[in-house]
Amino acid sequence: MNLISPIYIVAVSLGIAFFMGLLGNKAQRSSFLILIAALLFNTVVSVQWVYALATGLTDPTQIFTAGFKPPFSINLLMGLNESVITALINIVGVLGAFYMMKALKKNGTGSQVVFLVLFMSLNVVVLSRDLFNIFVFLEVGSIALAGLIILQKGTKAVSAGFKYMLATGIISGILLIGIIFIYRFTGSLNIDSIITNNPMLKQGAFVSAFLIIIAIVLELKSFPANGWGLDVYEASHPGIGAILSAASATATYFVLYKIVEIAGSQLNYYISLIGVVSFVGSNLLALKQENSKRLLGYSSIGQIGLLMIILGFKDILGENTTYVAFGILVSHYLAKAGLFWLSGIVKQKNIKDWAVTRKKPYFLFLMGTFIFALIGFPPFPSFFAKWTLVMDLVNSGNISWVVAILFGSMMEAVYMIRWFGYAIKGENENIESFKIDSYKIIPVGIVAIALYVAGYFVAPHSEVGTAINFIPLYFVAAIFILDFLPVFIKNTIAIIGMALYFYFVYPNLDTLRLIFEAIFMVGGILTLIAGYAYKGKRAGFYPVALLMYAGLTAIIEAQTTLQFFFGWEVMTAGSYFLIIRGKRSMPHGLSYMLFSIGGAYALLTGLGMAHAGQESFSMEILNGISYLPYWAYGLLIVGFLSKTAALGLHIWLPGAHGEAESDVSPMVSAILLKAGVFGIVLTLIGMGAANTQYSELAYALGWLGAITALAGNLMAVFQEDAKRLLAYSSIGQLGYIVLGMAMMTHLGWLGGFSYVINHFLYKAVLFLTIGAVVLRVGTHNMYQMGGLIKRMPLAFIAVMIGIIALSGVPPLSGFAGKWLFYNAILDKGWYFQGAIMFFSGGIAFMYLWRLIHTVFLGQLKDNHRNVKEISIWFLIPIYTLLAGIMVYSMKPQWVLQPLGNMIAKWFPEGQLQWVGETAISQYGHWAGSLVAITIIGSFLIVLIILMLSTRKAHKVKQFDITYSGERPERPETTHIAYNVFEGLYKAMWPATIPLVEAWWNKVTEILHNIADVTRRIYSGNGQVYVAHIVLFIIVSYLVIIGG
């Protein structure tokens, strides 16, 4: 194969640049075409090298200039890495030039020449193996860039450019000192010969190597000596920002990658250290940032910091280094370019004003893609890279590094998701929509698609990534493409798809997984049926709902921990989009996402610890973790608890569930929360189930569950919002489940699983019904409803059965869980937890009565006189679930016996004995069916007696009540619905102070204050920035010689 030598990139670019210079401004139109042609030529050259090197058609090739061999001449190396990096740079060059078409044309041929020279220099910087050559072209690049910065009009761009010149001037001076002294000490400027001849640099040579490396590190705008860089990001044309972030930073990073070898591995640790300071520091400082381009600048610096960490750890990462580095690099490169370009299209400075993006919904999709790629969500390459990075770091015992990296990532997620939240849900009424130029949107679209493609191709490259099941994701993608169809068709496709999938999947699952898969899939189908009630297109709903279900089923089917985590993150992303669809759910979506990401990071670390010392990634490694087992299991549990909303990690739930759409609330409450329970079950099985050595952990978990149950129920009592009430109730119910599981006995688990099924059934019923009622009456506030039993009797029946089941009153199914719990508690000896549970049960009656009374009973409001019964599409799933509750209530043994058999696998001791329909435990017995028959029988007898004695009961209307001789004036003043439990509140208000929320608010506030105070180092004065650079070098040197 005949390859075009990379030297032609330089030659052609320079030639064309001169030619264009000669042309001058005479041929404006053709000059731009020539520029594009030149950049395309560069791209073709590098891409053909990528192809040739990747397929093994050719070997890495050295290109010698001037006919001498190094060290007497400059040589270029074209290896696989170089070819990929140059390809990336050149692609961004083409796209960027296209994106900046208007600006480049307007500013004439000169700007185009400079643009071309910039990319030529970036290519050379990557390819060259000569230190001085690298210096020269770095300088050429920065001069070119300084020329391009000024393309943007205004003082800001000018002063930013000057600061940039000043800073890079000083930095390249430092670099030059380093280069000249390394030449002095090694007699060579060629990187390869320096490395081969001087494996360990000492003293003077070491100092000069340090200067070279620190200069490159500074070129990468390391925190905190990076004010000049931030200014450039903020002030320059968005296209320049994209080039800086995607192309320039990539090239400079590669330079660092090349030259770090000259110091051997002596500086690796410090590069990681600088990297982590950059990553954590700039992500933390970005918290207070409101200017979108500057925010992106902070984020870019953070990402480069992460890449420096990876570089520093290349000895530990071994052969994974390239994979991890490219994973992060490519995601960052594409996403950041896309975001910068987007910012040029949206044209809003303040991130709050990005709400205008929503006026063109496909831009939201683009923005979401970039942001989720940046914070490392699947299916983007950064997800796999981050996974591998954490696995390897934990495996090598660098836990504190993992913590720092994850903290930094967390901060990045905070501001990124917040920004995205503003875009989805912020106020946008007063902001003018933006124009879309096709030449601007095409590059953005290309990088967005490239992200997905990259993710798809990166996944199989990790050893365990091959097993990921992409079929559900294809389905999601298909639904996304079909999003223009009306609801009815999409809903049918979704339901059929899920049903088929469940049909094919369920034979392969064991009982445990089958239970959860059934909850996810059957529950999913039932809640989707409710979707028929919606009219129009319901744009964007089906892709995200199915994304969540795809994640859920991936969790169940996971054979490896990577698959599990992949599913977990997919589910998180899907549910986030679902939740944030609600009208007022911006802050709640954010907090949901942050707790989810925090939990996911805990999970990631835990899974990493499980993997430590093991070759395999199979789910089996959760059993008997040997590396820091307490921490590992603790982190796993914390990760899962963030999803079950245990006390302390619960503050996202009420808002998220309460403000979500009517059919989304049951999805995220009845179904999604069970994913956390599934995880806890897996962890507890991993801890050894009956023979656990970690009973302290289980004990703490049990207490947490009990207190969560109490707190959740207590908070539910004082809610005025029907859906929030149910949401708090979910917190409480999940507390029960956690307590049951934590008991680690047969009965405890039986009770826990009984609750899992029950909670799914009745919470789905309640949320669906209340959601449907809310759709009809148009408010969440219970005190604005009332008397709806007359208008919606079927909904009332559903809620009544739901609350009786929830409250655990016999004969309905909730009692099964209660009965099992008390037996388990006596068995286990957790008496106080049991008493707290019972008390929370008593409190539950209060909010349940409140729910049904204030909504359905009492006085019908005037404006609800004509409301219709809830939609038939809600009634179908509701009554299907009710049938489930009734079957479970009448024949509990049908459910409990198989459950018991399943649990006996892990807890063979203390099983329930079944004699016919009677369950016998050590402490008592319970005949579910007989009790139900007895109660129903006596109920009917009494009812018949009443009917016989009051044959002629006169039906009266709502104000036909005794009102002390008066008549009520209005339903609103007659309906006792607001602040109903005032007396209880007076007695128990200390327990309702939202301490947890205050704590998290305080944490947030402190972090933001730190960010606010720290970022004042960026005073805006160019001299200060130079001082930062000098100090950075001095401090780094002191740290290095001192450490």
């Binding site: 005037d862 404006n863 036909d960 004036e969």
Partner: protein, 240 residues
């Protein structure tokens, strides 16, 4: 705002208030009871008539007593279990509290107080009855389950007593609601009240405590009388 506009506005306001005064004089309808419009969640307008919409308002029917011995047995139970509504309508209500004291102790006769008309079967109209209270009495009386009994206390309920020419009290109670037992005096002492209870019990046991049916039978007549005197009628014809 120019002076002319101001004057126009003032005139308009004056006219409006005059119209309101006229309207009020005509119907005595409290503004709260006027017809109003509310907006349903789906945006449609619902007209609300506060006087009739909220109430069933169906006319009462005569309830036939059971036959023979059963009715006698039930009447005995009713007579021995008189639950009096705790509603003091006039000055005589001061005579009722002594009945629960050790000195008079009405409980031994099976008489006790009940706070809600739904659970009472006897109603003491204690003395003069203003028109304003009459409306409440009618409403309360109609809300009591049948069979129900009325004891009228003092001369005011018989012929108006010392308020015979008052503009604001009624003269004869049984023009408006049927009375079972009149207890004369101004005021009758608690002993007289106890005697009244004894008389009522006798009547009930004899099967003569059927005034509720009489009310139903002559409903239109009673209603006409009531409506003649109560100007601001803001309730349905029958309060269930």
């Amino acid at each position: 705002m120019s002076e002319k506009d101001m004057n126009d506005k003032v005139n308009e306001m004056l006219q409006r208030s005059e119209a309101n005064v006229k309207k009020a004089e005509k119907s005595f309808i409290h503004p709260e009871d006027e017809e109003r419009e509310v907006v349903a969640p789906d945006g449609s307008i619902i007209k609300v008539n506060p006087i009739y919409d909220y109430f069933s308002g169906e006319k009462p029917k005569e309830e036939k007593p059971c036959s023979g011995i059963i009715e006698k047995f039930l009447n005995w139970a009713r007579a021995e279990s008189i639950w009096v509504l705790g509603f003091g309508t006039g000055c005589g209500s001061i005579e009722i509290p002594p009945l629960v004291t050790p000195r008079f102790d009405m409980f031994r006769f099976g008489v006790q107080m009940r706070p809600t008309p739904r659970q009472s079967n006897a109603f003491i109209i204690s003395g003069y009855l203003s028109v304003k209270t009459l409306k409440r009495v009618i409403r309360t009386y109609e809300q009591m389950p049948s069979p129900k009994y009325i004891l009228a206390l003092g001369s005011c309920t018989i012929n108006g007593g010392m308020y015979y020419d008052s503009y604001s009290t009624i003269n004869r109670l049984d023009k408006y609601i049927p009375v079972d037992v009149y207890i004369a005096g101004c005021m009758p002492r608690p002993e007289a009240l106890l005697a009244g209870f004894t008389k009522l019990k006798e009547l009930i046991k004899e099967g003569k405590g059927e005034k509720a049916n009489e009310y139903a039978r002559n409903f239109d007549e009673y209603k006409a009388n009531q409506k003649k005197i109560i100007k601001d009628w803001n309730m349905p014809d029958y309060n269930w």
